[in-house]
Assembly symmetry: none
Amino acid sequence: MTAKRILIVEDEKPIRDLVAFGLRRAGYEVSEAEDCRSARASLVDQRPDLVLVDWMLPDMSGLELTRSLKRDKETEDIPVIMLTARAEEQDKVGGLEGGADDYVTKPFSPRELLARIQAVMRRASPAGGEDVLEFEGLRLDDSSHRVTVGDAEVALGPTEYRLLHFFMTHAERVFGRGQLLDRVWGGNTYVEERTVDVHIRRLRKALEPYALDRLVQTVRGSGYRFSAREG
Amino acid sequence: MTAKRILIVEDEKPIRDLVAFGLRRAGYEVSEAEDCRSARASLVDQRPDLVLVDWMLPDMSGLELTRSLKRDKETEDIPVIMLTARAEEQDKVGGLEGGADDYVTKPFSPRELLARIQAVMRRASPAGGEDVLEFEGLRLDDSSHRVTVGDAEVALGPTEYRLLHFFMTHAERVFGRGQLLDRVWGGNTYVEERTVDVHIRRLRKALEPYALDRLVQTVRGSGYRFSAREG
DNA sequence: CCCGCATGTGACAGAACGGTGACGGTGCGC
DNA sequence: GCGCACCGTCACCGTTCTGTCACATGCGGG
């Protein structure tokens, strides 16, 4: 999975550090800027997937920055989340009007911020955002619906694709055939449990040329597991 | 399910007592620390499932504690909830408290605290969170269905796995063959009692390479026991 | 010290389980 | 309508697991 890049524009260093630290932990790649000038620079060469902008900035208000961002064809697709202090709350309307995709009032809980970031990105992703899972050299790009190993493309049927997607988002856990039917086929389909075996087989066969069939492991008596570690 | 352990790090005794009392009533196992020093100690030997940290602490700020927690591979998975006074939230803290998973502002209602605790724990467990039993270096991860000692994987058949799982969740107690048949095989199976012996044997054999077969002990005339203490 | 009973142990046959190739059916695009 | 891709099911097979037995071992009481 390519890490999503987030740019933080915030002049108060302690807060900036704090937020950056938290976001990095959550798996994002974070760059920081303390004013609009450097923010613009970062925007050009980092091409972040999302921008967090503080409302109050020394050289230009965050609102201004957002507006100009959204005016530029080059950057208008980048989602923006504004950070505002509670006192400034009445201005939130203005923030949204400026083109921000969402705003969060300080203080905010980490949960909340992460949730909003994800929500906003999800909304933006059809535009060009990427949704890539990677595991042991195996890449699954959900937006383009492609599975690749290096340059080669792995040909999968729809069911195998969903199965692999499910596994890649739930690695290291064992799932019984019933659970897989529930979660990959859908809760109210009735098919034989052994059908799962057959699709596991097909998935393995597709991964075999790359010696990645080992990732799909049988746990005798329980089901299957997707894992890098041999079992 | 073993009761979840919560560690409270808070210097003001009255508050600490109050919170601890409430949490114990809610069924948690609570340990307390009044500064970061003792918190660290508790972290090591208690391995709490969640930590509640006050923002203001005498020796080190709660923020520092949280950060160092999240930096350490050993403890980064333990969810942290920060407690902050309302006065502190405005100016200093913007948001992600150095990696805290959530935060609660004082004064808070017991309800809210409990709700957040549950939410955070729920979120922590399915993600990377695991269902891990550990005993004398022997690890049984039920979600991935793996039994390991250090890096090595212990190969167990289905029955041996269930047997070990049962023992690890019921250590230090003696079970007769009949009881084991009931609880590991299932209430309505009819098999010879001596069959238990054979599976005990197989389990021991699998643990032998790691000198852990000593954990499965025979109680002559009564049955078997899983225990670290010899005899 | 010896006996008797409880437990350890190796072997084995049947059952259960999962892997695999093949087949017929179905829906879709051409 | 035809061919193609995919799906679900089945039958068959090798492998692994399981329960049972027969025999070995060992502990404890007399």
